[in-house]
């Protein structure tokens, strides 16, 4: 039992307890909450890096919370999908750095500690969701990050954010109930909540009907959380009206929980002998393909920058699901890498857009003309991230999309390759349009002329993320190799 394994429980414990402490500690000094949140997320990041080091040395490992062996206790499990917690912690850290100057401008000062508490609790819930090996525990941590996400959306001022938060809350609550119902069905069939144990015992269950329905309910529930077409309706409103750092967090990190949830579902049910996952996977391909095209076209017609970015998330979630649906080693590892790469790119996009909007006070794309001259670094970061999200080589967005397209060709689906390419071109179209607007059009709005470059704390986060969304493309091969062992068990399902 090396010390690193305790980290599996600590990546949950540290951010949540840190978050719970913030309102109590910083009631008198609201702005000081920033430093504390930063410190505890840095600690979380350090712990998750130590977990990855152990993973590389020894392979996947488990931790029995409370010392109770599974299936009696809750087993936490760390595999190569779980390694995403390091990236998510990193993004949360950068979002927190960005928030330092941004949040006091949009949140009443007395509520600032609440914002930091919610961000930390959200991080803890995400980490718990990613590392748990237990179905009910999965649900509990899903609730932790969902409830905090609803509240974070509602933090923005104005009735629009409130309505968006309520829409998000309603759909999210229905999806949570579906997941809970499915967990109940699985428990009634197998008598266990441990995922590995349940996977082994599903075959012996008396009837296949509840098992199949549990699979369906889990898939639909997680599809809502992942905002896969046609269950994405909550996403554009929520992500467009939330404060910029919250949009970054939600689009980059929180929707990925739904994707990981589907991966865990496929893992659990892939052992089931008589249950064919084939129809589910072709459903995922179809929905993913529609999502790619729908998201790209809807983004093209948006005039609001943040709404456009929100639709771009719909597109990218579509890509990931195409990859998972194809299920071949090439495509699925591409999808897994795209989970990470899109997280980095989308965080860069939303933070850069947030900086532009915050400094100029304008959010319509046409109003932003010529802002590139006034805020060169933020605008440049937005441009790089836009190219990355379109999948221009050698940026980070290219790796995943290329692999997914390759996988489509390998499995004899040239049409799907076409969808991947067309989607990329559509994204490139609006990307170039925005870059053109920012840099090569004369200013139209008077506020553009008086805007100044974002403060250093915002710039640091934006530039780091934009640089990573460029450089991660060069690290494509090692990343693909890293996720490959985790993907293998998924690939026999097809």
């Amino acid at each position: 039992m090396s010390a690193a394994a305790h980290g599996l429980a600590l990546v949950v414990l540290v951010p949540i307890v840190g978050g719970a402490l913030i309102p109590a500690l910083f009631r008198r000094f609201p702005t000081a909450a920033w430093g504390f949140a930063l410190a505890s997320s840095a600690l979380t990041l350090a712990i998750s890096i130590s977990l990855i080091r152990r993973l590389l040395a020894e392979g996947p490992f488990s931790y029995a919370a409370g010392g109770w062996p599974p299936p009696y206790g809750v087993a936490l499990h760390f595999d190569r999908f779980g390694a995403a917690i390091a990236v998510f912690s990193m993004i949360t850290l950068l979002v927190l750095i960005f928030s330092r100057r941004y949040i006091p401008a949009v949140v009443p000062i007395a509520r600032i500690p609440l914002y930091y508490a919610l961000v930390m609790i959200n991080l803890g819930g995400m980490n718990g969701f990613l590392v748990t090996g237990d179905l009910f525990n999965l649900f509990v941590f899903m609730e932790v990050f969902s409830v905090s996400a609803y509240a974070l959306v509602a933090m923005a001022r104005g009735p629009q954010a409130g309505l968006a938060a309520i829409k998000y809350l309603l759909l999210g609550a229905v999806s949570s109930l579906l997941v809970l119902f499915a967990i109940g069905l699985i428990f009634a069939q197998t008598g266990t909540l441990n995922m590995a144990d349940a996977a082994g015992r599903l075959d012996a269950a008396a009837s296949i009907v509840p098992t199949a329905l549990a699979l369906g309910a889990l898939t639909i529930g997680f599809m809502v959380k992942a905002a896969l077409f046609p269950l994405h309706v909550w996403l554009p409103d929520a992500h467009a009206s939330a404060p910029a750092p919250v949009s970054a967090l939600l689009s980059a990190v929180v929707v990925k929980a739904g994707v990981i949830g589907i991966i865990r579902t496929l893992q659990t049910f892939s052992d089931h002998g008589s249950l064919q996952l084939m129809p589910l996977q072709s459903l995922l391909i179809w929905l993913g393909a529609i999502a790619v095209l729908w998201g790209a076209v809807a983004a093209l017609v948006q005039s609001d920058l943040k709404r456009l970015l929100a639709y771009s998330t719909v597109t990218n979630i579509g890509y990931i699901f195409i990859g998972l649906g194809i299920g071949s080693a090439t495509a699925a590892s591409g999808a897994a890498v795209h989970i990470i790469n899109h997280a980095v790119i989308k965080a860069a996009l939303f933070l850069a857009a947030g900086a532009l909007i915050h400094q100029s006070g304008l959010r319509h794309i046409d109003d932003l003309r010529g802002l590139g001259e006034r805020m060169p670094l933020s605008a440049l970061a937005l441009g790089v991230a836009l190219l990355a999200v379109a999948g221009v080589p050698p940026t980070a967005g290219f790796v995943g999309k290329w692999q997914i397209g390759l996988g489509a060709l390998e499995t004899g689906r040239p049409l799907l390759m076409g969808v991947v390419i067309v989607g990329g071109l559509l994204v490139l179209t609006y990307g170039v349009r925005i870059i053109n607007t920012l840099f090569f059009r004369p200013p139209l709005h008077v506020r553009v002329v008086t805007s100044r470059e974002a403060p250093p704390s915002m710039l640091a986060a934006i530039l780091l993320l934009a640089a990573s969304s460029f450089l991660l493309g060069l690290a494509g091969k090692p990343m693909l190799d890293f996720v490959a062992p985790a993907i293998l068990p998924l690939t026999d399902t097809g």
Partner: protein
């Protein structure tokens, strides 16, 4: 038309749910997996290993403590969420004009009700504490005691006849935030003590006396924290 569509959707969903449930193993039969697998292990080992006569408490605080940690976090987050969302009005509109209107329209509290509520409050509080402290032996526990305590406090806030004063005077605000976070915090403490005493995070001490003490501490944290959260929700909704 929309009504009809909704009806069809609900009926389809209902049919699916019913189809799933009727195909489940019969509830109550001794050989269904629910009773033979993990639960059987709890029943066999729960008393000694779990350290509580009430198996529900043993599962909540011992076997699946990390789940309970998540649950108290959700409760705490719900309060934070409501507090955050009530800032929707923005800082300028929050100057008590609305409250003054409410006060003038509010019916004064009946002296009879106020007297009876204040007469019964100590009994309810005693019961709530009893439920919390005895949760490891009898039905009950932190969550149950907490909601009873919270209900009592809300009842007092509604009827104590002190509507002219703000509730802020009941507890110093600094302390209030600590108490609201009590649930997650006691589990944080459990995480660390578990590591010190038995080498696992979220584990209870092996010694029966200390285990009982830790369990009571957890129940009190869950209960008092939960009650504070409920009162906070009530206050946020009334004033926010």
């Amino acid at each position: 038309m929309r009504k009809f569509l909704a009806l069809v959707l609900i009926a389809a969903l209902g049919a699916v749910l019913i189809a799933a449930v009727v195909n489940l193993p019969e509830p109550g039969t001794t050989d269904s997996p629910v009773h033979t697998h993990v639960s059987a292990g709890y029943i066999k080992g729960g008393h000694e290993a779990g350290g509580a006569d009430n198996l529900v408490t043993a599962v909540l605080l011992n076997y699946r403590a990390i789940d309970t940690f998540g649950e108290v976090t959700v409760i705490f987050t719900a309060l934070i969420a409501v507090l955050a969302a009530t800032s929707l009005a923005g800082p300028t509109e929050r100057s008590g004009t609305q409250n003054i209107d409410l006060k003038t329209t509010r019916v004064p509290v009946s002296p009879v009700v106020s007297f009876v509520v204040r007469l019964m409050a100590p009994f309810i509080a005693t019961f709530a504490l009893f439920v919390m402290l005895k949760g490891h032996e009898l039905p009950g526990g932190g969550f149950q005691g907490g909601v009873v305590l919270g209900a009592m406090l809300i009842l007092l806030a509604l009827f104590s006849g002190r509507t002219d004063k703000t509730d802020d005077e009941e507890l110093p605000p600094g302390l209030r935030n600590w108490i609201r976070a009590a649930g997650p915090l006691v589990f944080g403490a459990l995480g660390l003590t578990g590591l010190v005493f038995s080498g696992w995070l979220f584990s209870l001490p092996d010694h029966p006396f200390w285990r009982e003490m830790v369990m009571i501490g957890l129940e009190l944290g869950i209960g008092i924290g939960g009650a504070a959260v409920l009162v906070g929700l009530f206050r946020a909704l009334r004033e926010g």
